[in-house]
């Protein structure tokens, strides 16, 4: 990462923390981490350092809190996120075929980001749309009635979409 990018990450974190301090009634390490995570989509080292500085803790204190929660991520997400549901309902109607196709297309073994950093794959255990199973969430959209072919078409369209 260039020095420029690092400076930007710091600035964006500082901005988010400042806004959070103005809006929130109580400011804690956790609430600061959430604010930074919301703003950046993940917690880079710079965000941990900025939260440490603004809350007067060491980076290790902050890391201890951040690493406790599995919903924080510490590497940058892909430009688009695809979540494949493998809950019981989706599973029964072929979710694993969909998942396999998606993983093959993205060149992934499990969850993670594609090599080009464009798409993140996550598992999901229920999106609350069992009537349309199997389901995929593509960024903010929930798409039902998935088949391997439709999933691949979706990935192709995501690859061409500008952010």
């Amino acid at each position: 990462m260039s020095t420029q990018d690092i400076a930007t990450l710091r600035q964006r974190t500082q901005g988010a923390l400042e806004a959070h301090r103005k809006a929130a009634r109580t400011v804690t390490v956790l609430s600061c981490l959430l604010a930074a995570h919301d703003a950046l989509g993940y917690l880079p080292q710079e965000a941990i350092e900025e939260v440490a500085r603004s809350t007067d803790h060491t980076i290790n204190d902050v890391w201890g809190v951040a690493s406790f929660y599995t919903n924080f991520r510490f590497t940058s997400p892909g430009e688009h996120t695809v979540e494949v549901c493998w809950g019981p309902t989706c599973h029964l109607v072929g979710a694993m075929n969909v998942l396999q196709a998606v993983q093959e297309a993205l060149g992934l073994q499990g969850e993670g980001e594609t090599a080009d950093g464009r798409i993140s794959l996550k598992y999901n255990t229920c999106l609350g749309a069992c009537s349309q199973a199997p389901v995929i969430r593509s960024d903010e959209h929930v798409l039902g009635g998935m088949t391997p072919a439709r999933a691949l078409a979706l990935l192709a369209s995501l690859r061409h979409k500008q952010t």
């Binding site: 900025e50 500085r53 060491t58 980076i59 290790n60 204190d61 890391w63």
Partner: protein, 894 residues
Amino acid sequence: MTNQITLTIDGKQVRTQPGKTVLQAAVDAGIYIPYLCYYPGMKPFGACRMCVIEVEGRRGTPASCTEPAANGMVVRTTTQPVQDLRRGVLELLLSEHPHGCLTCHRVELCGPQDICLRHVSVNDRCVICPKNERCELKDTVRLVGIDMDTPLSYNYRDLQVETRDPFYDRDYNLCIVCARCVRACEEVRGDNAITIIERSGTVLVGTSFGTSLLESGCEFCGACIDACPTGALVEREFKWEKAVSTVNTVCTLCPVGCQVKVEVDKRDRVIRTIGEVDAAANLGQLCFKGKFGLDFVNHRSRLKTPLIRRDGQLQEATWEEALEVVAQRLQAYRGRAFAALAGPAVTNEDAYLLQKFTRAVMGSNNVDMASNTRPEAVAPLGEILGYAAATGSIWDVERAQAILVVNSNTTEEHNVAAVPIKRAVKAGARLVVIDPREVELTRNAHLWLRPRPGAEGALLGGILRVIADESLGDEQFLAQHCDNIDGYRSSLAGFDLAQVEAITGVPQDQVRQAARVLAGARPASILYALDNIPTPQREPLVKALVDLALVTGNLGKVGGGLYPLLRGANEQGARDVGCMHQEQGLGVSEVFAAVGRGEVKAMLLMGYHHGLVNGEVEGALAALAGLDFLVVQDTFLTELTERADVVLPAASFAERHGTMTNQERRVQRLRPAKAFPGEARPDWWIIAQVAHRMGGSGFAYPDASAVFDEIAQAVPQYVGMSYARLDTVNGLQWPCPTAEHLGTPVLYAQGFPGGKVHLSRLSGMDHQPVAVGASRDFPLLWAPGRVLHQPDRDVQVVKGKGLNLLRRTEYLQAHPQDARTLGVAEGDAVELVTASGERHSFTVEVRDTLPQGLVSTTALFGELATELQASRDPLKMPKVQGLAVTPVRVERVG
């Protein structure tokens, strides 16, 4: 004792104090309850569940480490359900810890020195653990009596051992996550350099993003290693070695005087040092120097025989020959032509005999401590208050509500003395730091006043003025204990706040705040080292600090007082026994000039003098060449022995009996842990031999204890002390007037020996703005700083030759006005040139938070730690440079 409570543990009546836990009560009464996460001095944690007990009338099995002891409580620690529970807990712990060493059928057959290579599976045989036979987990397993049929399979975490950071290795495959290390770092030391990461099945100890300790705020004090119950954390040097004996003695690297347990192996080498928990001076704490710097005593380049210069070369000689040469040659220099200096780490016995020899045999008063370059730090306390020493105890500072630290890099130069400061701050005390440099304590301070170097006195005058103007002082204390109040007050007139601001560069507002903090909370402690204070300003500054302690009524109270932070490890002791410069003689500051003038022709230097007198006396080393005769008693060949006519090999602190007096007046015992190397002997013995040969009477001492008995007769504060007593009570703080007296932790609790104390008029603190930039070539002053942790700076950890290294952009902060004069702007590359020609590259940061005329930089302590780890010099720890403010020139690059 009052307020005792009585409870029954396993049928035995146990008395304890309220606030103690059942576990503490049991341990105090000699009843052992197994535990792994509890550690003396830390708050109850209750994580390991090994110490479960049954309490009559209570459901379940509470952990005794979190259960407060209560009156009438009936506790059982060894019932069957409790034992079963403990075995279950241990089995769970062992499901993630290598335990071949515990389940091996030969465990009773193997002696403690043997390592087993055949009888357990290859991947976890005994030799993978450096704590073999020192492991608390192993002891616990044996005591609890776990069935030895636990299968060998366990979840091996397969983590790489961390060996790239300085001084110690971390093998988290052996970690049982008791969190003792995390709590040692957080609760005890106040550093938070490590933390518990993740949770449930994957929980472990680590640092942010798993990177190096170098950037995580670690001060490499080793407190975590001492607390670790397994082999997860170990010292890298002598990692696999086993101790055959352990001796309690005193670290001689700084005046805090930490007691250490020195472990010696079968080859008579010091292999480890562990802080003594039962020592009042350090409560088990050590620092990077005492933990990782004491093995210099093993070094093969130690001096082992006397050396005499013949034909320009130092040649080996016998004691007989060497002592004869010294005695013969010194005959010619009796009187003022002779001078003697004691090194910073000599014992009281050495220092006492050195001054006795110099005065009684040589007839000279030219005797001093080589580190006594700042006598003004202590002398005024004697003149004004009665005793030339700190008024309180180091750990009483923890009970202060407000703390002032003046020009001291405490965390590096008196490390353990900084621990109670940090702990007090964590507990809510207010810390004010006056220092132009950014040091670790400024990072912890509520108020960091950053005056122009040399304007510290004016700043203090401003603070005293505000206290007087706002009537913040302790009038009752003043009326009862002080006179010259009017004289003192009238001298404050010169310290108009607007003028103080102009002189110091510190905003008036901050001066007012500081005064309110320091006078508003009692008790308040004042610590000062006088780093970078010009000589003429030292005495007025210390007198002003005494005034501050008096007007705020902070003397004679626990948690209040004045603490001069001394230079030499035994400077207090040397002063007490008379080995210190007095009016009639030449002190360390004048003696080298006298050598230059030909007045002093022979010298004796005892003990190690790094950089001769802290590098503070210019030309000292060069002056030695002008001597007719030079005797050096030392442990290594140094720049001093190079110039010596006779070199006498001295024993180190680890090889001898003796006493040292630390900077809180605590007299403590040195005990021999190993044999003398070769012919080396204690300094007191050498000096007694020379004196004897020169016809001096009263130098026939059978041992060090006899020398101390004479000191106890000669020094009024030491009268009640003897080796036997010091051994029994583990150190005594003087004054100790009788053989029953328990020592004096706080001076002046019953008033002042001279009745009323004379408040000093403020004087000698320039009312004129300090002339920054004395020379045209070097117009700015550079305040180099060093801190543990700077989260606002980007740091990269790169892998060097086997070690982690820090890489980052270093910044030079300058005042906007200075930046304009230099023609530089934020982000420009500059070079800083010192008067001695050193060049350092920096990137400019323009800040108005520092005074005009000052430029400042801040390094990370991790860099120093890496350098020390890489250094092969056995004397690296005493050689760590202080942070000196120096004149510089800043040049633009490109």
